[in-house]
Symmetry: D2
Subunit: 337 residues, 4 copies
């Protein structure tokens, strides 16, 4: 079977694994108060050129999103998100379970725009409504698209005008920052977002995410909140070790670039065969539209997921590449269509 189902089905990138092996019998203090976490946090502060940022390490993405958002909000505050956002659909109501409404915004392509924010705010005029307080973005998005720097700056401007915070889910940040057409860099992030996370799980780590809090007003007592929501690992050192390895010699971005390269190869091949896409391919998630018969055939030989877009004769599917995808697999796939 060719595997194009997701980007979290291998273990760790070998260099990350090596770092875990090497440090396995080193004693370290618990709960991310160890030299590995301290060093990795420093590396991140340098990478993003923001010496005052607070960096926390958590085991997973849903955990990170729910912990951060709940930490930043008062009980009547809501989160504005594209209705395809991970927190809207794939987190089993984790945000609501912390007490907060999400204002789901229907979008054309999974990207939030300033006018979407305005439209939510018009309908939230007084204390009979929740008070939108933060916007949630993912970059790259669940639809495989990226935000260009200008787009993020426009969103930032809208946030500033309306007293909103901005939180960016970077589960696939490695792919977002390395794809063709991207003009955003690590250093831009703390200038735009109040907080964001650098995703490890889908970008080469065995597991783990690095939450970066830039806005001073959101920093207080973050460790209490992480502990309370179950995200402060006893062996936090595991996360420090992994991020140190991932960020060394740009490995993180190289792995994102590799996933994107494989996706581009795949998309170019699909297009060359005359097929189209329901969303223009940009990163490692692509959405070709195939005849229904072909989709049925592919299921025999390829692992992939569906996508809710169907016509009478065709249906869209989701293909995902990762740091571990090999060119050989892409070529093999292309022979099947």
């Amino acid at each position: 079977m060719i595997f194009l189902k997701n980007d979290y089905s291998l273990g760790a990138h070998p260099k990350v694994l090596d770092a875990l092996i090497e440090t396995n019998m080193t004693l370290a203090d618990g709960y991310c108060e160890d030299e590995f976490c301290y060093r990795a946090a420093d590396q991140i502060r340098q990478l993003i050129d923001c010496p005052d940022a607070d960096v926390h390490f958590l085991p997973g993405g849903t955990q990170t999103n729910m912990t951060a958002l709940a930490a930043f909000l008062r009980p009547h505050h809501s989160v504005i998100s594209a209705d395809t956002g991970h927190i809207c659909v794939h987190e089993t109501g984790a945000i609501e379970a912390t007490g907060h409404k999400i204002n789901h915004v229907p979008t054309e392509d999974g990207k939030l725009r300033p006018e979407d924010i305005e439209e939510v705010l018009i309908f939230h005029e007084d204390e009979h409504y929740v008070k939108p307080r933060i916007i949630y973005l993912s970059n790259s998005t669940e639809t495989g698209l990226i935000y260009k720097k200008g787009e993020l700056l426009a969103l930032r401007k809208a946030c500033d005008e309306h007293g909103l915070l901005m939180y960016l889910d970077g589960a696939r940040l490695a792919m977002a920052l390395t794809t063709e057409g991207n003009d955003l860099s690590f250093k831009d992030l703390p200038k735009i977002a109040d907080a964001f996370y650098i995703g490890g799980t889908k970008c080469g780590a065995m597991f783990g995410e690095a939450l970066v809090i830039v806005n001073d007003q959101l920093k207080e007592d973050a460790r209490f909140l992480i502990k309370q929501r179950g995200g402060l690992m006893a062996k936090g050192r595991l996360l420090g070790v992994q991020f140190e390895a991932l960020l060394k010699d740009d490995l993180y971005l190289q792995l994102g670039a590799h996933a994107n390269r494989m996706a581009k190869l795949l998309a170019d091949g699909i297009r060359a065969k005359g097929y189209d896409f329901v969303i223009p391919p940009q990163t490692n998630l692509i959405f070709p539209l195939f005849p229904k018969g072909l989709v049925a055939e592919l299921k025999e030989k390829v692992m992939f997921e569906g996508w809710p877009y169907v016509t009478e004769t065709h249906e869209a599917i989701r293909l995902v590449t990762s740091w571990g995808t090999e060119e050989r697999e892409i070529k093999e796939f292309l022979t099947l269509i």
Copy 2:
């Protein structure tokens, strides 16, 4: 000023007030464990022809909705509601504050239909999503419409097919059950809904709602939940006294019928003057579409609220009648347009 702004701006209907006055110096046990509450609960059980129903009295509508829904659900359960539903908009995220997502369903007219439920369920297939567990209806709706018996039975069927519960918000049940074209009666409710509330605040009471739990599986420990959410009044007797008075000699339905009659007079008059409605008038909330100039003029002499429907030349407004609206006021309004 003519008052057509809402149906909760007077105190109690005089007969309800009299009952409160009469019983004011009678000693009664606390927390709805008194003869007044017991008698009122019995009256309700007779009225709805459901001797096994549990009846609880709470001070307000948001309180009742949030308490009941949170009591019926496990943490991963969600509520399906038309996106105009009171719980979606006007309760400051009270449901989410108890930990539950609401699946907002866009509808044409504020009424939920079986196909709306199906559409939500398609996208909630496994444990990565919340699990829809209950549907929320209001009758009459926030758009002034009623559900006919057949419509409710169709929804019930959809619920049964999908293992869903049904909860009905009866803030304006008096109006729903007495308007032209209605074929639903008190006795039908326990056969259709798992739980519902008979609204007092907007239907003649000084304040208070009667929550009726029909489904045996939802009854356990309801008083704990009501107390925990702050809805178990020390002087619960106040609620029993009021409902006894409201339900005596059909006063409750008479008050609803009066509000509807005033609204019909108003709607007929407006239509006679050549104006149209953005939602067909059915109960005590009506939504005429007026030229913008006229709306501006009306603001000087009438208290009313806007409605989010605007064209280049016209805008819709919301007019509300109540048990206290006088024919004189309607006539006066009609002279203004």
Copy 3:
């Protein structure tokens, strides 16, 4: 039956009831945005000599406690309370249901002291523990005692030293401020507490409490939180009307003084008959220790509640007087012992 069971078993004091009757057919805007609430809030600000205080009206005590505390806290914050505090025992976990731990402090007599606070803080040193953030006091306490001004100032000092807020539950504030030995006045409260409530339900109102927020940092968006927790009444005017009547011509304090006077008569009589108390009588809740046989006899003729203090031969009971208790009843009771 002589009624000495609680102080919330009558309706409203006649003057409060009259005010409700008089204003019953006056139209008023909803949700406490009406002239009655505005005037009552002003009266309270004058009474407490604190022109900048925010005043909100809520229907009940549990509602007020849970709404206020949840509004003031971040998710990892806890509340320090004497373990006999109303929020610890008699609110069905309402505070915890909003996500916050209460640090229960065992005390000798139901009163919190600075050393109790210190003791809690010693064990809450870092992010593995909740962070105590506010102390909860009731005055008078559930044990019928009052805090003297000096005691409250000492607690305030402890709060200031440790970055803690102070919240005072005034369910029985009328009794606290009018009993023999009290040296605290309304005007002292905003100088000592960050927020408190003036209880209506047990002090002459039909129902309702007035939440006063003194600390500017706790004021923001309070109405959102009150609405979200179900405490913003559609007919908020009912609360404004009642507090206006209660505060006119010192009625509120007179009613508290009456309850205390009746309790003193009762306590003096009991003592004169040679019985003792498990807590020294101070306000309208008193706790005599009677022979078990006598308690059994009293049950036939008096309504009262037990108290968890039992010896081999004796048991304590709780006797409560109210604004409605008559001297005749006290005398009758005394003939029984």
Copy 4:
């Protein structure tokens, strides 16, 4: 420095690490739906002789406790725990953050007894109080003690009499089941507890715990709840791989036995030097009482934590051994006292 500070400061036991290395590049489905997790779950079902048990894998202990308890309870339910229980102190109010009160029970030695349960229940008589619904035990306890089989059966009996569930935190289950005097086995657990977890983090795993749900009524939709609380790992396979390795050839129990052996060596040595213990040593956490001067000296050469027991001349400290502690370290420590 000699390390006797805790049992989670190394990485994984070499055999567990080897299993992670070996399977690192094997593709596996996400979210614990993979062959490793399926096999490990089967192993556990065999180990505990309970073919119908549900087994779920989560990344950490606080996560597991809060997810399981919140999944099992309705909003008004509380948890009874010894006040030294991990959930009472060291989880930053995680349980309360899910909405549930913990009834803290003071105990002599950190072990809960049937009479402690009775005492809580006496004070929780009606809907004004939370409803205790589950007891929380840890075995071994935070005080290093174990429950004997008879003790657990007595607690079970108390639970059955009062309609309570039993949940057992097995963070240190490997130590509990292998220490001198223990008569409990894996196979006894599902006969006694409704749910429990087999701790990995402190017993040889890199990280991770296995939650076992025995009671059929608690099984429904557990995966939804785990996902919602952030505990369903994308690469759940990591947990399956580790538990498979840990449970192979009894490694799990061997590691527990080793930690206990090292602790016994340490305790015997300390006692031989004439020192006493504030809690009798039983597993890998021991609490010697040393002169204050000695404690100060030890701090220079040994990493350990304090314990809140101090006399004028002496203070207690906590010493912890683990699967990685070497005999050499124990001997070295003993030369220091």
